[in-house]
């Protein structure tokens, strides 16, 4: 039997595929209501759960090829009583240096684009910084070897024009090489974050600075940077996290003493010491969470997401 509205009645009930049923499934009390929980579920399954498991596994007992349930702080003891703790500290210092260099090189670009480039052109200019991502990071970082190496482009050019007589060896397979690799890999993120952060600095702010007679350096230090601080911090954290945790750059450009936390974890996994790898990851998570907390207290990171009124 087919009623006038087109839905089929099947044993006294409406066909589940009738328009009204779809409305019930997709309506405000159906999928629309539960769709809001999808991000929560996603973050729980793919972020909170792995982080919790990292901490749990870090206290498991190590077996020959895997680990077994138990409670031991042996992995943490191994970490803090070996050279790994020192390397970890140094990797954080190198990451901080990479952040500072990226800020010094990248943020003025963001200020210039926001201030001097025509509004219609601004996003296109920022898109220029996406160009390096058109090629894999692995290739980009690996290609730094023939550039920074003993007979590389930089050394050849400097020796040809007579600036140096012997090749500079410290720029590859050293902490300096790792910092250069981090800056080359992650500098665009500071430009993007700075560009977004500069949205908080409206053009009239520059005019006010000018009217009050502030010089460029003073206006930059006392007005622009404090206003854009949340965005700058967000960009800085992004570069810091990648510099500390990414094993790629120190693998290709690092040498003796030039490792980072990601590489230490990688080495622990290669040595089939999973609790140690988990312990280092847990320490890394704790460090970064502390950093984010401090940043939030200082700059109020919720401002990054707030629209400018």
């Amino acid at each position: 039997m087919v009623p006038s509205n087109g839905a089929t009645i099947w044993r006294g009930r409406r066909d589940p595929a009738s328009p009204r049923s779809w409305r019930r499934i997709l309506g405000e009390n159906g999928v629309q209501k539960w769709a809001f929980y999808i991000p929560v579920v996603f973050m729980t399954v793919f972020l909170a759960l792995p982080m919790a498991l990292t901490v749990v596994w870090s206290v498991f007992e190590r077996t020959q090829f895997w680990m077994q349930p138990g409670f031991t702080l042996f992995a943490y003891e191994t970490f803090f009583t070996s050279a790994r703790a020192e390397n970890y500290l140094f990797s954080m210092i190198h990451a901080a240096i990479a952040v500072v260099i990226s800020f010094a090189l990248g943020f003025p670009v963001a200020v210039f684009v926001r201030r001097r480039v025509a509004t219609a052109l601004q996003h296109r200019v920022v898109l220029l910084f996406i160009l390096p991502f058109m090629i894999s990071e692995l290739v980009r970082v690996f290609a730094l070897r023939p550039i920074l190496g003993r007979n590389g482009v930089i050394n050849s050019v400097l020796m040809d024009i007579g600036v140096i007589s012997d090749p500079i060896m410290i720029i590859l397979f050293s902490p300096v090489g790792v910092v250069i690799g981090d800056v080359v890999s992650f500098l665009p993120f500071m430009v993007f974050a700075g560009f977004l952060a500069m949205e908080a600095v409206q053009p009239y702010v520059f005019e006010v600075c000018e009217d009050l007679g502030a010089r460029t350096v003073r206006a930059f230090r006392d007005v622009i940077v404090p206003l854009a601080a949340p965005g700058i911090f967000a960009g800085g954290v992004f570069i810091f996290v990648n510099s500390v945790g990414g094993a790629l750059v120190p693998t290709l450009l690092g040498g003796p003493g030039a490792v980072n936390a990601g590489l230490i974890v990688n080495q622990a996994i290669v040595a089939i010491d999973f609790p140690l790898a988990m312990a280092i990851s847990a320490i890394m998570m704790a460090t970064l969470m502390l950093l984010l907390y401090l940043g939030h207290r200082l700059f109020d990171l919720t401002k990054v997401l707030q629209p400018i009124s």
Binding site: L105, G106, P108, V109, F112, V113, R116, V125, L128, F129, L131, P132, M134, I135, V139, R140, V141, A143, L144, P146, I147, V153, V184, L187, P188, F206, C209, E210, A214, R215, T216, A219
Partner: protein
Amino acid sequence: MQDEYGNIWSYRAKWAYLLLIVFLLLLPVFYVIYV
């Protein structure tokens, strides 16, 4: 703060700096293509 377009060379220098940074970031890519 200086005049917006008062010094055209300062404006051009800033553009040159921006393009230099982009070029430096792309240098490994260019080198790979060259090799």
